[in-house]
Symmetry: C3
Subunit: 142 residues, 3 copies
């Protein structure tokens, strides 16, 4: 079984945001898949996707603190400055964290660990809405 959905996330402020619920809700066929994979793709180069701790909001704030330190806005060596001080850092963070996730599916559910949640990583100050492509494949059965 193959199915593909598009999901547009409303604009979020710069930072790391839990979107597990939104992703799962956008793929109702997930419930029918015995064994499979869900692929999530973000169609942008200044936002990204990762999986990390789903309980403590302070973890997500520390992600933002750390990545702002590791890839500083307005880093003087950047040549590509035309689109703003946060643009080139956003591109780099997006590639470090990555544009996609492939998630295991078991018995109609994502086979994530207890503490794992999907993050939208918004790297721009005004990133706007973000489009995801969700591709589900697997063996149907019960």
């Amino acid at each position: 079984m193959w199915t593909q959905h598009h999901l547009t996330l409303p604009p979020q402020r710069r930072g790391f945001h839990l979107i597990t619920r939104e992703v799962v809700a956008a793929v109702p066929e997930l419930a029918k898949v015995r064994v499979g994979l869900l692929h999530v793709w973000i169609q942008h180069t200044s936002a990204s996707l990762t999986v990390n701790e789903n309980a403590s909001p302070d973890v997500r704030r520390d992600f933002e603190r750390y990545f702002n330190h590791a890839v500083p806005d307005g880093w003087p060596a950047f040549e590509h400055t035309l689109e703003g001080r946060d643009d080139m850092p956003a591109h780099i963070k997006a590639s470090v964290l990555g544009p996609s996730l492939t998630l295991p599916v078991s018995a109609g559910r994502l086979a994530l660990g207890t503490w794992q949640g999907i993050y939208l990583c918004e790297h721009r100050d005004d990133g706007g809405a973000r489009r995801l492509v969700l591709t589900l494949q697997g063996e149907v059965g019960g």
Copy 2:
């Protein structure tokens, strides 16, 4: 063909560890797959998976040195400190390296390069056992 296995790795000390052999041994159906993909998922947020040089143990020690430098234990700006000085760095390293691998399969074997091996990246001092979900799909034939 779809198949899914669980693999629990025994506790490893903090650092980077070759696990290619353990992963391949846990998926005996690999030998029957003509063309396919093996997906490996770690169900934790403070350990990760990568592929890198499979020959020199000094490369794996340098990974540990580098990442400890890039994301220092007890970094003063971290807010999430309740679970120890190595916890928040472990979360960040886990997202930088990533929770999964998708590996090509050709003629019953992983189609890795000569020097490529699978690493378990243990980012915590006492991470305990780590659970992997292995999902194999592909075309059976010979």
Copy 3:
């Protein structure tokens, strides 16, 4: 449908290079896939793959500047120095950016965003030719 191709990219100078066109051309069956995924694997541990901005060459130059700063050649703490000052940094950059991409396919085309392109990230001064394994799967139809 499953198909697998090998693609050897000629030697490129150290840096970030757009290869979307070469990848798509190497998988002619892409045009027949209604919904699917294209997996791209690099069989090396000192070069990597990412997706980022496909328009401005200065973005790709800034990637090179940033990663050279974040993982410096000849970093004194490295133990694995036998293969040159750029070798160990290349291994680390390769794992940070990653050895593979999984790309969504819709209606016979890669479902990338407007500004997304595939980068070969060549982390060595003299990396030589680079081998990719391209695995396409999906539902055929129109």
